[in-house]
């Protein structure tokens, strides 16, 4: 008799083979999946072995953490205090001793609170702007882009900046042109536009007057000349001014490049392609040796201001291309819709196109800022002391001279730049994901 066996319950699942799960499975899959993979793993392990232990030993294990001068980072045979035969790693006391110089440069000690306030206000007003969920973005941006730069200028320089007569003449011409424009419009068109035009002119006039008064007012603060500025302060001033000031210029250039007016388009294209075609270092050379030749006699800019002008024009060209990318991404229907509503060019741009386009290019702007932030190191070639320049300059100090000083200094500077740039690039990726949520497949 044949006994039939019919199963009434599912048999229990067998555990997957040991080579498929857990650590072993992971290793088999990711490290040893084929002969080539095994070779690559061994090779990779060797590369790690070559680099990581050396760096860790230098920066941590053999590093010298306390000391009062360079002798603490030298071996006895070399005239220092470290036991002979003991490996010498990074000389961290040197960074500690120079830390404030790396941040403020030669900014006077008793005035450094001004830099602190400027940095603090900047960080406090920037953070809510960067977090997408926090409201009042508009007000925040107006403060950061419109008020904060002047606040910082006053704080860092000490205010009491008189604008020369030439500049006054220029302002007067601007005002006359503006009033003439309004009057001309009043004669030809309806009254509604008069008042709005007048409002804008009046607002610009009031703003200029306020800025002039604020910059020129004597706050009784010590006047700190820009040659005393240095370190991270200069790095931040150059990078932030470069990006903020290039923003409006870049938008105008991007609009010009897409304009239907041939002259405007040609001028924008030439401007953009010129600055994008030359290296920043030649721009800095130009601003330090040629700009003084371009100015009328008697007008002089200090070195930092000249560099700022060069950097701004340079980054404006890149900004223009970034913004243009955003403008191109806006569909034709948005333009047509705005025109169908009877909006003027500036209304269309200001209310419909730019708000969408600029939002799209936030990651691009952050990337431009990262590039500019790294490029600020170039100012040391024309004699300004940014963070890297300050580090480089500190190597000449005989007090802290030791075999490890320069390595330590570069390591420190690299870490500071890396933290800033890496943080910003992560933010840029975060924003990109946020903005593309709707379009991503």
């Amino acid at each position: 008799m044949v006994q039939n066996y019919v199963r009434t319950k599912m048999s229990p699942d067998m555990a997957p083979p040991a080579t498929e799960t857990g650590i072993i499975g992971w290793v088999m899959k990711n490290l040893l999946s084929s002969w080539l993979s095994v070779v690559l793993t061994v090779f990779g392990a060797y590369v790690i072995y070559l680099i990581v232990p050396g760096v860790v030993e230098f920066a941590i294990v053999n590093a010298i953490w306390v000391g009062k001068d360079g002798l603490d980072c030298r071996s006895i045979a070399d005239g220092g205090r470290v036991q002979d035969g003991q490996a010498i790693g990074a000389c961290w006391p040197y960074v500690q001793a120079y830390f404030s110089q790396f941040i403020y440069g030669r900014y006077p000690l008793e005035e450094r609170w001004r830099v602190d306030i400027a940095m603090f206000v900047g960080v406090v007003s920037l953070i809510p702007l960067l977090i997408p969920t926090i409201p009042y973005k508009r007000e925040n941006a107006i403060f950061l882009l419109g008020v904060y730069p002047f606040l910082v200028t006053i704080l860092l320089t000490g205010g009491n900046i008189g604008i020369g007569n030439g500049a006054w003449g220029f302002l007067a011409i601007l005002m006359v042109l503006g009033v003439g424009f309004v009057v001309f419009q009043a004669k030809t068109t309806q009254s509604i536009q008069i008042s709005s035009g007048l409002k804008i002119v009046a607002a610009i006039g009031v703003a200029i007057a306020i800025v002039y008064l604020a910059l020129g007012f004597d706050y009784g603060m010590l006047d700190v000349e820009t040659p005393l500025w240095g370190g991270l302060l200069v790095t931040l001033v150059v990078a932030i001014t470069g990006i903020v000031a290039s923003f409006p210029i870049g938008i105008i250039l991007a609009l010009g490049r897409r304009s239907e007016m041939p002259v405007a388009r040609l001028v924008s294209v030439i401007f953009i392609e010129f600055w994008r075609g030359v290296p920043l270092i030649t721009v800095l050379f130009m601003s330090s040796v040629m700009l003084p030749l371009f100015l009328p006699e008697g007008v002089q800019f200090d070195k930092l201001l000249r560099v700022l002008i060069g950097v701004t024009l340079f980054s404006a060209a890149y900004m223009a291309e970034t913004v243009r990318g955003g403008l191109q991404a806006i569909s034709r229907g948005q333009y047509e819709g705005a025109m169908a509503l009877g909006l003027s060019f500036w209304q269309m741009m200001g209310l419909i196109i730019l708000p969408q386009a600029l939002k799209l290019v936030i990651p691009g702007i952050v990337n431009a800022f990262i590039g500019l932030f790294k490029d600020t190191t170039l100012v040391l070639i024309v004699g300004l002391f940014d963070l890297l320049g300050q580090v480089q300059a500190s190597f000449t100090d005989p007090v802290w001279s030791s075999p490890a000083t320069s390595h330590t200094g570069y390591l420190f500077a690299a870490m500071v730049f890396w933290v800033f740039c890496f943080g910003m690039s992560r933010y840029s990726i975060f924003m990109e994901n946020l903005l593309h949520r709707g379009h991503k497949r």
Partner: protein, 405 residues
């Protein structure tokens, strides 16, 4: 009735001149031209006045003046008696040299790292990621300084050396190696190389034709290698090795100042060149790696699946299916990285590698003071390079664009 309508139409087309877009456009453009003309005039006028006040000569006559300074790396005949014009050429060639070699290395490293980052092997992918994220976020100038002041100063001093096979030597003054000295008859070898290249092309074409006709493959790579390297080598041996090597002279005795490698003997690669080359290629390679990765990811996975469904080998899938399609995405940003590398080579001035900016916009500018001409010439060189590149890019994009119906 009809006249009434046409009247109205006439009225509506008669907008006030202020609201006519055409008139407005012309008005604004006239203003723009006037402002720019004024600015240019003011700049030129100010510059002329300032130059007169500072007693600086103008014009390009200075290019014929004797330079009277030495340069430590020259690719053409240059002595201190040469002119500023010769300095310009020397600087330009040095820029092109470091940019060219840098582009070669950056491409090799960048493609390797980009593919490594996509590797299924975890260790390799992580190494590539860390390399990219670390070096990309550190300023190039800092990396140049690191290589120049920290790494290349840690080698043996001027009066000693470290050697590899007694042929390649390194110390603070750079890498020293034998210099090839072509003798009479070496031309035949050069011609053999050229013939080899031509033959390789013919073989490739023939192999393609044969594969299309019969399906049989031919080892084109090995054949080409044999033709381009093997053939000249055989001819070199047959013609009696018409190449001699000038070894660098290293003095260990004698006066202390004269010890070490003797300038002008052997082939010296100056440390400035090495530092700039390392920094430029390693830094730019990170960007190239990201471009390559993005390009490969842009090729849809269906292509890989289709290839394996057809039973094509993995290596062939990558080489014949993925890479050709990825190149379409890769090449435009890649060219702009090449351009960036060329422009970044101007950072040479920070470590005094004698490139265009360093010797011409640096030393010559300081000696003559003719800032306008010199800066304009320097910028002109870089502008020309980038315009030529962008013309090439437009041509390339036009030829590579997907042909769509």
């Amino acid at each position: 009735m009809s006249s009434d309508i046409s009247d109205k139409a006439d009225d509506s087309s008669k907008v006030s001149i202020w609201n006519d877009p055409k008139a407005r456009g012309i008005f604004f453009q006239v203003i723009l031209v006037a402002v720019i003309a004024y600015l240019v005039w003011a700049l030129v006028d100010n510059t002329i006045r300032n130059l007169e006040a500072r007693k600086i000569a103008s014009g390009f006559g200075f290019l014929d003046t004797t330079a009277s300074f030495g340069i430590n790396q020259v690719l053409i005949n240059y002595t201190e008696a040469s002119s500023y014009g010769a300095v310009f050429i020397v600087g330009l060639l040095n820029t092109l040299l470091v940019a060219g070699v840098g582009i070669l290395f950056a491409t090799i490293i960048g493609f390797s790292v980009g593919i490594m980052r996509l590797s299924k092997n975890w260790v390799v992918a992580k190494i590539a990621t860390v390399y990219i994220e670390v070096l990309r976020n550190i300023p190039l100038l800092l990396q140049i300084f690191f290589w120049y002041f920290a790494v290349l100063r840690a080698v043996p001093d001027k009066r000693s050396k470290a050697s590899l096979f007694d042929t390649f030597n390194i110390n603070v003054t750079g890498i020293w190696m034998p210099k090839p000295l072509p003798q009479d008859g070496f031309n035949i070898v050069v011609i053999a190389v050229l013939i080899g290249i031509v033959l390789a092309f013919i073989v490739k074409k023939w192999a393609k034709k044969r594969q299309a006709a019969t399906g049989q493959q031919f080892p084109v790579i090995w054949a080409s290698l044999g033709l381009i390297v093997g053939l000249p080598f055989v001819i070199y041996l047959i013609s009696g090795s018409p190449l001699e090597w000038a070894y660098p002279e290293f003095r260990e005795t004698g006066s202390r100042l004269r010890m070490g490698f003797q300038l002008g003997t052997g082939l010296q690669i100056i440390p400035e060149f090495l530092a700039l080359l390392f920094a430029l290629s390693l830094y730019t390679a990170t960007f190239i790696a990201e471009i390559v990765r993005a390009g490969i990811l842009a090729v849809s996975y269906g292509q890989t699946e289709a290839a394996s469904a057809l039973g094509i080998k993995n290596s062939h899938t990558l080489r014949l299916i993925i890479i050709p399609q990825a190149m379409r995405v890769i090449i435009p940003p890649l060219t702009s990285q090449y351009l960036n590398l060329t422009k970044n080579s101007s950072l040479a001035v920070a470590i005094a590698y004698p490139d265009l900016v360093s010797v011409f916009a640096g030393t010559v500018l300081n000696q003559t003071g003719q800032a306008v001409e010199i800066i304009m010439m320097t910028m002109g060189v870089y502008l020309t390079i980038s315009i030529v590149t962008s013309i090439f890019m437009n041509w390339y994009n036009a030829t590579m664009a997907l042909v769509e119906r």
